[in-house]
């Protein structure tokens, strides 16, 4: 077939009808404060690992709310559990604890 140099790229539109919230609901059942995030970005701004690894608690929570569990799991690998994010969160979310809980869920699923 003749190559005209065109290709079809997939739509980037998120279909919120198809989002699987199983992980989010599981997380909220053990870490109810996960619902409280207001996406202010303080956690990501202060994170020592973020600039090098892409770790962002805000984005992890958002990804899980959008059913993007794999992306969230990949991001979590950058965390070094220093707990700085917990110190700055204005909503008082224990983000470090939340990260550990999330890792535990991922760990259980990997078994």
């Amino acid at each position: 077939m003749m190559d005209f140099g065109f290709s079809i790229s997939p739509s980037s539109t998120m279909n919120l009808d198809k989002v699987d919230l199983t992980l989010y609901d599981r997380l909220c059942s053990i870490e109810p404060d996960a619902r409280k995030c207001m996406a202010c970005g303080s956690c990501s701004a202060t994170c020592t690992a973020g600039p090098w690894t892409g770790m962002s608690v805000r984005k992890v929570l958002l990804d899980i709310q959008r059913g993007k569990d794999k992306e969230a799991a990949a991001m979590l690998k950058g965390c070094m559990l220093c707990g700085k994010c917990t110190m700055v969160c204005p909503r008082g979310i224990n983000t470090r604890h939340l990260i550990l809980s999330l890792c535990r869920i991922y760990g259980e699923d990997a078994k």
Binding site: L16, R35, K36, A39
Partner: protein, 339 residues
């Protein structure tokens, strides 16, 4: 005291001002164009932040202003300036000479059908904040009654912060109203998913942020940051909305069983006409113009003419009531200085 005072508008501002003037020993004349007192609040069901029944607030005020001269279904036909005050002619034929006029003319709710892309009046399952309050009050609305409602969306800023709609200003109360109504719907439809589509959440008032956290924690309302750009209808009669999930940086779409538009607060066009009879102009935002916007919101450039409530811009009920009290005092001081 025999000084006549005319209050135009029988909403919260007009009623609270009348109440205070009665306490000060005056007998104000209150005119209201509709057939009942209470203004927009009379159409509401419960009020944030304590879910006070709107009827209690309205009834409480009506009860306390019985001694005022109240004309319902009456409008101001014309006002003539005289040496010592004003000659006001009402549509019911009554003519009054008064020394002070209070314009408590309130606001208009933005006509949601003007934002055609949201489909109000076009698609079956689109309603406004006011329609939803009416349903809370009456339990009767064909968009909800007997329907299987699984997904509900609330669109913030409909006709507010929108140059294309002719209203640049924020309506202040819609963010908190949306959250209130989202939680009320979640209570009535516990299995439904409820979404709020917002640009900013402007939760400035007492206990409003608590409401937000409660909506997140207890009601599980989903907050999606992005302005809804368009709405369409599918074969099942549901609505599909398009927005950007700006936090993800990606366009998003979702199918809903019910869409509620947070129609904003815009200036009352009829009030602008009445105000022009006493040379009160409109400010750059289209609302009535105060003497200045810091310490003299209640006074106007015209002697003996005062303002209170949403005639000068979007306001909450406590703010409106506080202004009405201030206006009553300003009128009293004005009359004392005159005599």
């Amino acid at each position: 005291m025999k000084d006549n005072i005319v209050i135009v508008g029988g909403g919260i501002a007009g009623m609270e001002a009348a109440r205070q003037l009665l306490l000060l020993g005056y007998k104000p004349i209150l005119v209201e164009k509709s057939d009942h007192l209470g203004g927009h609040v009379a159409d509401w069901h419960c009020l944030f932040p304590d879910m006070t029944p709107a009827q209690d607030v309205v009834k409480g005020l009506v009860e306390q202003i019985k001694d005022a001269n109240i004309f319902l279904e009456t409008e101001v036909s014309f006002i003539n300036r005289m040496k010592m005050g004003y000659n006001v002619m009402f549509s019911n034929g009554v003519n009054v000479i008064c020394k002070a006029i209070l314009l408590a003319t309130g606001f208009d709710l933005f006509e949601a059908s003007r934002k055609e892309e949201y489909g109000y009046g076009i698609y079956d399952q689109v309603m406004t904040n006011r329609d939803l309050e009416r349903w809370f009050n009456t339990g009767d609305d064909k968009r909800i009654t007997g329907k299987d409602i699984k997904k509900i969306g609330f669109v913030h800023c409909v006709g507010s912060r929108d140059v294309k709609a002719g209203n640049q200003q924020c309506s202040k109360v819609c963010c908190i109203t949306a959250i209130k109504q989202a939680m009320e719907m979640k209570e009535r439809f516990p299995d439904a998913e409820v979404y709020c589509f917002y640009m900013d959440l402007r939760l400035f008032g007492k206990k409003y942020e608590d409401f937000y956290i409660k909506a997140q924690m207890e009601s599980g309302v989903h907050f999606i940051r992005g302005r809804v750009s368009e709405v369409s209808e599918n074969m099942q009669g549901q609505v599909i909305i398009k927005t950007e999930d700006t936090l993800s940086g990606k366009p998003a779409k979702i199918t809903l069983d019910l869409l509620v538009l947070m129609a904003g607060i815009v200036c009352n066009k009829q009030a602008v006409q009445t105000a022009s009879m006493v040379q009160v102009q409109t400010d750059s935002d289209g609302f009535l113009k105060s003497k200045d916007n810091i310490l003299n919101i209640i006074e106007t450039g015209s002697k003996g003419v005062f303002l209170a409530g949403t005639a000068t811009g979007a306001k909450t009920i406590p703010e409106t009531a506080a202004e009405a009290r201030a206006a009553a005092l300003a009128i009293h001081n004005y009359l004392v200085a005159q005599s």
